[in-house]
Subunit: 338 residues, 2 copies
């Protein structure tokens, strides 16, 4: 019997895995933002010495994974398996980034929710008794994402105010069966929610209902409210999506505003940096988690956070075919104590 399944869809880990190391590397623009001190490496060069932006994204992955391992005082051969994925077609950002690592790999795809999904599976694999040490890593790159999903940068297309700015960065985390924490205690996987939004320049509006669905389920499954967490942090809803999420909860008579933050709003200063509705991309939630959030937990700023990365599961092809945007959100509860 599924002894770790509580409520409808939440997994309660019996021996919560510990973060043994985590690292984040970003591009220049992210390094000029409010979280600059939390990044392990800031590249002034958007190519990272490579010939293409896609190869640069893989270089970010390689660097983040290497730093996370080094902080955990482990090497590639110690890791039982890695979960990774990104936004590029066929997930080549992470695949090529971990290609030389020799670590058994599970590729995952959850659009911008990929860090939560990877982390969830990395934790379940340890708690299930299959591994002692696992990793999760994801990435995004503004330039590779723009030309793949929107228009070539040289085209200079105008962006509506609801658009978000894809973060150039990669975040990596090493989990171990034993350790001093913080710990992954619960996972609530997301269901697809599609409320009919068709505007690919308004991902926040498309994803907010998915975040609401998963977080609400998480609360119900654990019979808790928002006050169970010091921080409820979404991945990249941005300004518009965050407001929608808070409104949804307010309509239920639940006030999350005081405890809610969004990685897409944390990583950039919207007044000084031209990012419209905020940051986005797999690298957004990943770099904020693997720097600012986990560092903050270690420093005692927060004891319990609910990390909920959100993803818009569209493609340029589905948009061109007139489809709406299916979205998903995966919640991972992280606690300083088991």
């Amino acid at each position: 019997m599924a002894t770790k399944l509580i409520g409808k869809q939440t997994f309660a880990l019996s021996n919560p895995p510990s973060f043994a190391g985590h690292a984040c590397v970003v591009g220049k623009k992210e390094g000029e933002g409010p979280l600059r001190d939390s990044f392990d490496f800031i590249s002034e060069d958007s190519f990272l010495g490579e010939k293409t932006w896609e190869k640069a994204e893989s270089a970010l992955v390689k660097k983040a994974a290497g730093l996370a391992l080094s902080k955990a005082a482990l090497s590639n051969s110690d890791i039982n398996c890695i979960f990774c994925g990104d936004l590029l077609n066929q997930c080549t950002g992470t695949t090529f980034g971990v290609r030389d690592s020799n670590i058994p790999m599970f590729g995952v795809y959850g659009a911008c929710s990929t860090m939560a999904e990877s982390l969830a599976l990395a934790a379940l694999t340890i708690d299930g008794g299959f591994a002692d040490k696992t990793m999760a890593v994801t990435s995004s790159h503004f330039c590779s994402a723009e030309r793949q999903f929107r228009t070539p940068l040289e085209y200079g297309g105008q962006r509506p105010p609801s658009a978000q700015w894809t973060v150039t960065g990669s975040g990596a985390a090493v989990l171990t069966a034993e350790g001093p924490g913080p710990y992954v205690t619960h996972v609530t996987p997301g269901r697809i929610v599609d409320n009919g939004v068709t505007d690919a320049n308004n991902m926040g509006a498309a994803m907010a209902p998915a975040a609401y669905d998963t977080i609400k389920r998480h609360f119900e499954d654990l019979s808790v409210g928002p006050d169970a967490y010091d921080l409820i942090v979404t991945g990249d809803l941005g300004a518009i999506g965050s407001e929608i999420l808070r409104d949804f909860f307010a309509a239920d008579g639940v006030d999350i505003a005081g405890r809610h933050a969004d990685c897409g709003l944390l990583i950039f200063d919207r007044k000084k940096q031209d990012v419209h509705s905020g940051g986005s991309g797999c690298g957004c939630a990943a770099t904020v988690l693997c720097g600012y959030l986990l560092n903050g937990m270690r420093e005692g700023r927060w004891n319990k956070i609910l990390f909920t990365a959100t993803g818009a599961l569209l493609s340029p092809t589905t948009t061109m075919q007139g489809e709406s945007i299916p979205s998903i959100a995966c919640s991972v509860a992280i606690s300083k104590t088991k």
Copy 2:
């Protein structure tokens, strides 16, 4: 401690989950091949009544998942989570196929190895105590794959003899914690292997070293040889890749030829059907597993099979940038008894 990890990278399940239902649906060409009697549904219409090939692929997924559930006498709401993925950019074939199911979802990407990866994670999730009932589903469609990865069909590009034919089809499997079997007993996740092959029209050659790496590791971890299995079945190495795999083992003094089969060679009749080196695509391994192979096990044709789906983790962009083809293979051991 990781009590279920044996050897370097194999997971031994402590209470092997059972296949409770499985189904496969295919297109017309597959329905004219040698496995025609094993398919649950053969569509004469490559659009399946939809307006685009991408939507048709999602229709295949929906049909396969629905049939598998129906055979298991279960409904969507009984399933704790689903693992799914496909070849389309951003995995929209499966995402849109399961969009309305309301089942908590983990998207995965392992190129043509996706069925083995999905099945592996679906089994681990049950054995880890997180779920009682899970599903794995993948798909591919010749027409959506050709125009995305190669050239528009209307272009009529010539195919070299080493090329393979993407299977139009979807396979779905339902796993349950208890049941009469067959059972998933072991999982050996793959590592990326890249021997420098750059010809995107010769996937078999690129993937064979990955299949060899995983199967060899599996044998070593379990301290067994090929005779531990009645059938060692690869995903879609085709004629060229299969020969390379057998040669690799022969060089070690291990003869797998008598027990090896390849889904890409099983699904089409290469003498009568114009498929060059054989079938390929996520749907190839998935439809052969969820029909011919699992039916054969139930009928007593084989007691133990090692299902090893292989994937080429390239994208058109990486190929255009001169990159070689990283490949991966995931092995799932299936047995009539626990």
